[in-house]
């Protein structure tokens, strides 16, 4: 029997038949795969053929919370969207903060499984354990902010919501799922999968309390964790003051900001779009997700120029990089505006920015005919940036439609796929693997395509003085441990940003005292390793091979031109074989039988 931390039930909704079923959370799966990303992927392994078309009726979506969600464990409100991703067909898990996850859990469900396809647009109303599939014709076409407002109006002002925007409705492969109109599960095109099922959103309202296994021990673990976080530079004060954009100047200083579609690793005028400048010119106040002491969310406005009066949230570090640095744009207000637009359309702002950067690169190289684009699309042109986001979001023109499919399809269309700075078709984020070697291995091996938050080696490579960011040595082990820890952490429902302060020991304590499932730091990481290998198995079955574990050629062939990492390139081969070996995988990157037996998942191969 589950002893604490879980609501205990799974909601299964089939949109083709309209059937609604309630099932029990499996105790053995909770123990082995925790919740969230782990449990959600386990469901996908059981129920979905990894070869299905991501946008077909056969694909499923799992909306997942974790055992620490709806408690006062720090930063514990994460909600995850697990599916076969639209962007690349790999196992997708994108997560978000906000208050939807906790609300869903208190409505009685740890997980929601969405199957089939509705005949016309619908949304779900999950109200204190009861479930309705409702007509969404008045919601379809609305941007995420309005969709959130209308759903709250139709259901309950205090409901938590999940919604897709116009970008997803038109099946953009880089569309996200937004929560409460302003927070997003951004990557891998999860929004398009919802749209393919005609599901505009979900509103949830709960009344059920969540209990934990050992109240006294849990309270002790929580306050210990909160105390540790309050003493860390980022989670204690920096996160609230500057938010994630505080990284702009830090990463630029080490020459690790991929600039102008990665033609360089240093952006001369990065300080004009830094966290400090954002705080000075645009920040109104900060916002916290559920139970989060860090509160890194940026509530911002534009105070001058042609977008004066616009307001919203963000941008975070990643969109500042993607829409700013990657496009060579250093006009902060335009970057902020471009970020607002991505949010409203429901576009992944990392992929959106990196795709525009790719388009600028192709355009300047003369590979995009001028007649295809209604304006000059050059690096550094801040007006072109905003116009390109609108084209991408509206998808009215052929070029807009192309942009909305991400950089890989765009570059492939024009005959130069090597211009796409992506791995497994997903654009890599704001850290340059030429300057910070380990993150390249993380990009190459991340199970959802290039990504920094599956294994944030930056925490060690940039912030730990004992780790040399420019060496390849030891990076295989570093990447593996970060990936395994994160897989477990993501499954509990705690935010990655807690790991600036918390280590496996504290996380295991929170998990064990909440659930009563015995777990020390070693076992916690082992659970993560199990989840990582399970995701790998899904991808292998989906047709991915070691050929897909690679970085864009540009990173190996074109050295960084300026800044602290001038002359550096990224050589993945100096890390990848060692990584496979450490993982217990064969030379083709396939998990060996003995590794799977050790992890107890040999039946999933």
């Amino acid at each position: 029997m589950l002893k604490g931390g879980y609501a205990g039930k799974i909601l299964r909704v089939n949109l083709t038949t309209g059937s609604i079923n309630i099932e029990d959370v499996r105790e053995d799966w909770a123990e082995n795969f925790i919740g969230g990303r782990g449990y959600g992927t386990r469901i996908m392994m059981e129920e979905v053929d990894p070869k299905v078309d991501p946008l077909s009726e056969e694909n499923k979506i799992v909306i997942a919370t974790g055992p620490l969600v709806s408690t006062y464990a720090p930063s514990s409100g994460r909600v995850m969207v697990i599916t076969k991703g639209a962007l690349n067909g790999a196992i997708a898990c994108s997560n978000s903060g906000g208050h939807f996850g906790p609300e869903l859990k208190r409505a009685g469900f740890d997980f929601v499984i969405i199957e089939g396809k509705a005949q016309s647009p619908v949304y779900l109303w999950i109200n204190k354990g009861s479930v309705e599939i409702r007509d969404a014709s008045k919601l379809w076409g609305k941007n995420v902010k309005d969709a959130d407002k209308i759903m709250k109006k139709f259901t309950h002002t205090e409901a938590g919501t999940l919604e897709i925007g116009p970008a997803a409705e038109k099946l953009s492969l880089i569309s996200n799922v937004t929560f409460d109109g302003h927070r997003a599960a951004g990557r891998t095109g999860v929004g398009a999968v919802l749209a393919s099922k005609n599901l505009k959103g979900i509103a949830a309202r709960g009344s059920m309390g969540i209990g934990v296994y050992d109240n006294e021990a849990f309270a002790k673990a929580v306050y210990n964790a909160r105390d540790i976080l309050s003493k860390d530079a980022f989670s204690g004060k920096g996160g609230a003051k500057l938010g994630t954009p505080m990284l702009v100047n830090i990463i630029n200083a080490v020459g690790g900001l991929p600039t102008n579609n990665a033609h360089d690793g240093y952006f001369q005028t990065a300080d004009k779009i830094s966290g400090e400048e954002l705080a000075k010119n645009n920040l109104i106040r900060n916002e916290g997700c559920d139970s989060c002491p860090i509160a890194c969310g940026r509530v911002t406005e534009i105070r001058k120029g042609k977008y004066k009066g616009s307001h919203g949230v963000g941008p975070e570090y990643e969109p500042v990089w993607a829409l700013g640095v990657a496009c060579g744009v250093d006009d902060l207000d335009n970057v902020v505006m471009a970020s607002y637009l991505c949010d409203e359309y429901g576009l992944d702002s990392i992929s959106a920015g990196a795709t525009i950067a790719c388009a600028m690169d192709l355009y300047e190289a003369g590979f995009i005919p001028k007649e295809d684009v209604p304006f000059e699309l050059r690096f550094g042109d801040s007006d072109a940036l905003v116009k390109a986001v609108r084209l991408m979001g509206e998808q009215e023109s052929e070029f807009g439609k192309l942009l909305a499919q991400g950089s890989y399809r765009l570059a492939e269309h024009y005959g130069y796929p090597e211009f796409s700075m992506s791995v497994k078709k997903q654009e890599f984020p704001a850290y340059d693997p030429r300057a910070i070697k380990g993150i390249g291995l993380e990009y190459a091996t991340s199970n959802r395509g290039a990504c920094h938050v599956r294994g944030y080696t930056i925490g060690a490579e940039v912030f730990d003085k004992n780790v040399d960011r420019l060496t390849y040595e030891g990076k295989a082990g570093l990447t593996k441990i970060f990936q395994d820890l994160t897989a477990a952490l993501d499954s509990t429902g705690i935010c990655l940003f807690t790991t600036f302060g918390l280590k496996a020991k504290e996380l295991a304590e929170l998990f064990e005292t909440a659930t009563g499932i015995k777990c020390d730091k070693k076992e916690f990481i082992k659970k993560g390793e199990r989840i990582w290998n399970m995701e790998r198995l899904f991808n292998i079955k989906a047709g991915f091979t070691k050929e897909d574990d690679k970085l864009p050629e540009r990173l190996a062939n074109e050295p960084i031109k300026s800044g602290a990492s001038k002359g550096e390139v990224a050589d993945l081969n100096k890390m990848l074989p060692e990584y496979y070996e450490l993982r217990g995988w064969d030379k083709d990157g396939i998990p060996k039988k003995e590794k799977l037996i050790e992890l107890g998942i040999e039946d999933l191969a």
């Binding site: 408690t71 208190r106 009344s207 969540i210 209990g211 109240n215 909160r226 916002e287």
Partner: protein
């Protein structure tokens, strides 16, 4: 006398206070069973916590037919004795601020007891949007902060010393 003071401009809307309150009083994490409530205004991203201010002439006390609610003149707390409560809900109707409320079952009363002098909501609030402070000190602090502005004017006009 200490007051539970809300600094609205500091609230980040994380609602850890709601969890802390329900957990310490009921053993479960359920915002519906919390005395403190954070109202969220997403159009402007403003978050406003509301708390029971322990009225001197409390309506909830006045209307309670069984004296389940009483004002403790020593501690200042409006105390609730559930063993005397008949569930008439008059207190819930009478309170102008919604500070006394029904729990998630709609049958039991939730009343802030300031956790016996160490409010859990204050303890968990990293942003310091909630403070439990001496009322006189708080007022003095406000007066002082205002006075600093006048002091500055004088310094600017007349110079230092």
């Amino acid at each position: 006398m200490k007051l539970l003071v809300v600094n609205i401009d500091k609230c980040t809307g994380c609602r850890a206070c709601e969890y802390a309150c329900s957990f310490v009083h009921t053993g479960m994490f359920n915002p519906l069973d919390s005395s403190i409530k954070v109202s969220e205004f997403l159009d402007d991203f403003v978050f406003v916590p509301s708390v029971c201010t322990q009225c001197e002439e409390a309506y909830c006390v006045s209307v309670c037919p069984t004296h389940a609610l009483t004002k403790n003149t020593q501690t200042g707390v409006v105390e609730f004795d559930s063993s005397k409560c008949i569930g008439c809900k008059q207190c819930v109707i009478a309170c102008p601020w919604g500070s006394i409320k029904l729990n998630h079952t709609g049958k039991e009363i939730i009343k802030c007891d300031l956790c016996g002098g160490e409010p859990e909501c204050v303890k968990v609030c990293h942003a310091k949007a909630l403070e439990f402070v001496d009322a006189e000190d708080m007022v003095l602090d406000k007066k002082h902060r205002n006075a600093v502005k006048y002091k500055q004017l004088i310094v600017e006009q007349q110079g230092v010393g």
